[in-house]
């Protein structure tokens, strides 16, 4: 069983102390990596946005202000925590953890390196290689909605409730496009395991990043994934959940101290995890050229280079998200909904249809161009029928009158 090679934390195989130790080490290391990454990401984000707005940014705590997030965290940790009288206390306390757990669990299925050996066991550099990894990602990103929704509901206050209603509506809407975009990869890869997907994008020659990585083969799905992932993580320009001008602070208005910090942490952890998933699914994960002058079994080629490639790709995506954050104004709520439902989902469905047809054509040895053309024609015809059936805006206005 290949996925047992991750020495999986489900502990289904023959469990010895060393297996337990490896699992424990991997979980702890992944958690620490994620926490430190969030800390550095928040600092880097503030610095880059400051650069883009011709400011200096945080520069007091530590060299170049790198400890600013740590200082903020310590401050929030020691602040008073208040719970409103009208709050539903157990749910109010639970919500932050419901929000942060999915973000961390999602990261567990992401391969951050190749196959290495720890304590005499050959294992993958990922916490767990689930056979249903991609479904797990979808499930966890869906679970993240509960933290936001319950936080708003249990606060017993108007603005958090409005914020959480918005949040759940937005997350559910974009969940559909998000899932369909992932489907674009899954159809081509033919597997749900994230490690298998990474292996299929393995570096074989200098052109592997075009021929093997999925970003070009699923270019439209990749674009949809990036947009939907921004919306899923409540990242600007889709941050209507926390639209300060309209909702005070959104679903976390009533939260103080460390509970607020956990929401904050979860939000940025989500951004990092989503970037890591985008890298895994579309950009080849940890695959990249290894150093030719060293042997293939050299510790640098096995341990460090894949991690560095992974890191470089994640950093590139994170920079892009910060760039988007600095550049785009917040989108209007009805535009957000109509963009999600009327464009993203439909394009994603069309793409899935075409990909599936081409895939079947490959298996059945049909002419793939003809198959693609026919599927596009069918899809466009189906859309035409749907469009004709939909009430037009002027008709709707007539109806309202």
């Amino acid at each position: 069983m290949n996925h047992l090679l991750a020495l999986d934390p489900l502990l289904r195989g023959s469990v010895t102390w060393s297996v337990l130790a490896v699992v424990l080490i991997k979980v702890v290391v992944a958690f620490v990596i994620l926490l430190v990454a969030v800390m550095l990401y928040i600092w880097a984000m503030r610095k880059v946005i400051a650069d883009m707005q011709n400011r200096i940014g945080p520069n007091r705590a530590g060299p170049y202000g790198v400890l600013q997030t740590l200082a903020d965290g310590i401050k929030l940790f020691f602040k008073e925590q208040s719970i409103p009288d009208s709050a539903d206390c157990p749910v109010f306390r639970l919500a932050p953890y419901l929000s942060i757990m999915p973000a961390f669990l999602m990261f567990c299925v992401v391969p951050i390196g190749g196959t290495v050996s720890i304590l005499g066991h050959t294992t993958y550099l990922q916490v767990v290689d689930l056979p249903i990894g991609a479904l797990f990602i979808l499930a966890m990103s869906g679970l993240g909605v509960y933290g936001v929704m319950l936080a708003g509901w249990s606060s017993g206050s108007k603005y958090p409730l409005l914020g959480s209603v918005r949040a759940s509506a937005q997350l559910l809407s974009y969940e559909a496009a998000f899932g369909l975009a992932i489907l674009g990869v899954l159809i081509q890869a033919g597997t749900l395991s994230t490690h298998e997907i990474f292996l299929q994008q393995h570096w074989t020659n200098a052109w592997s990043f075009v021929t093997h990585w999925f970003w070009l083969k699923t270019c439209i799905a990749f674009g949809i994934f990036l947009i939907a992932a921004l919306a899923e993580t409540n990242h600007p320009p889709f941050d209507l959940v926390e639209a300060e001008q309209e909702l005070v602070g959104g679903f976390n208005t009533e939260y103080t101290g460390i509970r607020f910090a956990i929401f904050f942490l979860a939000e940025f952890m989500n951004v990092i995890t989503m970037s890591a998933i985008a890298v895994t699914l579309f950009l080849g994960g940890p695959s990249g050229p290894s150093l030719g002058f060293l042997s293939a079994n050299n510790v640098i080629n096995v341990w460090f280079l894949p991690m560095i490639w992974f890191l470089v790709k994640v950093l590139a995506l994170l920079f892009a998200t910060v760039w988007v954050r600095a550049s785009l104004p917040r989108i209007r709520y009805d535009r957000l909904m109509s963009f999600g439902w009327k464009w993203l989902i439909e394009i994603a469905i069309l793409w899935v249809l075409v990909t599936a047809t081409v895939q079947v054509a490959n298996v059945e040895n049909w002419n793939s161009f003809v198959a693609a053309a026919v599927s596009v024609v069918v899809a466009v015809a189906a859309y035409g029928v749907l469009y004709a059936a939909m009430p037009k805006s002027d008709e709707l206005i007539e109806e309202i009158r």
Partner: protein, 208 residues
């Protein structure tokens, strides 16, 4: 580019030099007309200029000045003339540095230095008495322990600013001119918006 041109705008900013001054490390030169901590001036013979008329206290919008005048002792006058400022206090917890007291003063007794970096640990320190406000024998402000003097902040402080220039040169029209000040002479008026710099000695024959 159209709708995506915003991305270029933000990216272009990254290479530009920063305009921010990192204040405590880097300090700009202070403007000539800056309103800072006050001083009470004296004549060259050591007599105080303040005549205890309380006009500054009357005009102060923050009500931070307290003045009590008294008759000069005949054998040892403090100021030339009949009266002098017996008590003079400025509460810097209230002062807004609007400079109205300076404009109200008929004898140029109260003027402002360019010092603004001073802070207090208690209220008593914040209320400056006449002893603390009076300039020393060289015409410079006293340096109190809680004030951060950088040098040059108490130069050119004992003069008035005049709103218009009577010098007759078009380059000075509507420009600030200065009254003569003891120990420092007459400062040239500030250069106006005219691109041509005015001749420096044009201010010598200023009336009054």
């Amino acid at each position: 580019m159209g709708r995506l041109s915003g991305f270029l705008v933000t990216l272009r900013q990254m290479g530009r030099p920063r305009l921010t001054t990192e204040y405590p490390k880097v300090k700009h030169d202070k403007p000539e007309r800056m309103h800072g901590r006050h001083v009470l001036n004296r004549y060259e013979d050591g007599m105080e200029k303040c005549i205890g008329c309380e006009l500054c206290a009357g005009v102060c919008p923050a009500r931070c000045i307290y003045v009590r005048g008294a008759d000069n002792p005949i054998d040892d006058p403090v100021s030339p003339g009949e009266r002098y400022g017996f008590v003079y206090e400025i509460n810097y917890l209230r002062c807004i540095h609007c400079d109205l007291c300076v404009e109200a003063c008929p004898t140029e007794a109260i003027t402002e230095t360019k010092l603004f970096e001073f802070s207090f640990a208690n209220r008593a320190d914040a209320i400056y008495t006449k002893d603390q406000l009076l300039v020393d024998d060289t015409g410079h402000a006293q340096r109190l322990p809680w004030e951060l003097w950088l040098g040059g902040e108490d130069d050119d402080t004992s003069a008035w600013m005049r709103a218009t220039s009577p010098s007759g040169s078009a380059a000075y029209e509507g420009r600030v001119n200065w009254s003569g000040e003891l120990g420092f002479g007459v400062r040239p008026p500030e250069h106006g918006q005219s691109p041509v710099p005015p001749p420096a000695p044009a201010t010598e024959k200023q009336d009054d």
